[in-house]
């Protein structure tokens, strides 16, 4: 259902393109796309590795530019065509959502996805295996429901 949305073309403001979740070791726990028109990497795995490498290097660069008294970390970067929203937890989990560049601040949305969806359905699940990609129906359903109803993404 989500894939059919916005198929009319034309102005598609505030749209979500895709999402990644990585753990601190670089394993991609979750990847989902809603609207993706091009793919430069040969496979999803290559794309995920590139994304993780990018985030890793960017984090170090941000540390270099952060003044001594400043708080570390970053939450977004963008190009003319898309905006990459980022949230990193204390435990090293990294949440990335790529959206339309005009989308609003996604920090609260990502924080909600972590605290209220990931923690509830994954971390608290006794069968959750930390190093492996997620395979959790409840998590995916809640995530879809939350994003589809998020005010910024009703297209």
């Amino acid at each position: 259902a989500a894939h059919g949305r916005g198929a009319g073309g034309g102005a598609r403001a505030r749209m979500i393109y895709n999402m990644y979740i990585f753990n601190r070791d670089g394993v991609c726990l979750f990847y989902r796309e809603w609207h993706r028109s091009i793919r430069t990497a040969e496979s999803n795995q290559e794309d995920q590795k590139l994304m993780f490498g990018f985030l890793f290097s960017l984090k170090h660069l941000v540390n270099k530019f952060t003044p001594e008294s400043g708080a570390p970390g970053f939450h977004a970067c963008h190009t003319n065509k898309f905006k990459l929203n980022y949230y990193e937890t204390m435990s090293g989990l990294r949440f990335v959502i790529n959206t339309d560049p005009r989308a609003a601040d996604m920090r609260e949305c990502l924080r909600h996805i972590y605290s209220n969806i990931f923690v509830e359905f994954c971390a608290k699940n006794p069968l959750y295996d930390r190093g492996k990609p997620l395979d959790n129906q409840l998590f995916e359903q809640s995530l879809e429901t939350y994003l589809e109803n998020h005010p910024a993404f009703r297209s």
């Binding site: 028109s37 960017l58 400043g70 970053f74």
Partner: protein, 140 residues
């Protein structure tokens, strides 16, 4: 507090030159030694291109802006392969306009200077003075 900016134009990645100019305009700016500045500028150049590769939609250009907790960074890529970027206090607006104005200053005071050699470090007093005035006037 004065607008905190640190600026460094670099050339296109194919030539990988060190920054022609990198200056701090505020005591709050991160203190980077010239070697670090070189490294940061090259890293940023590379990462800007990788972000373009990661794009889920076609027609993306390299990274134009980066929002961090304690600073915001804006970049400008010119048609000739030059790259300008500025680091400022979080929430500063209009940095793309500032970068365009800096580009104009570069063209007027550096490129049109008959003694300036392309890709060499910039040592033009007038350029520095005008740039300083431009950045001092950035709206908070």
């Amino acid at each position: 507090a004065a607008a905190r900016t640190h600026r460094a134009p670099t050339t296109a990645p194919a030539r990988a030159r060190p920054p022609a100019s990198a200056q701090n305009f505020s005591p709050n700016a991160a203190k980077l030694k010239s070697n670090d500045q070189l490294m940061c500028a090259s890293t940023l150049n590379g990462l800007a291109l990788i972000l373009k590769e990661l794009s889920p939609v076609g027609g993306a250009r390299p990274m134009a802006a980066l929002e961090a907790t304690s600073f915001t960074l804006a970049a400008l890529d010119t048609a000739t392969g030059l790259k300008f970027f500025v680091v400022a206090e979080p929430g500063t607006q209009g940095l793309d306009v500032v970068l365009r104005a800096a580009y104009v200053l570069y063209c007027d005071y550096v490129l049109k200077n008959p003694f300036y050699e392309l890709d060499m470090p910039i040592h033009c007093d007038r350029f520095d003075a005008r740039l300083g005035r431009l950045l001092a006037d950035v709206p908070r």
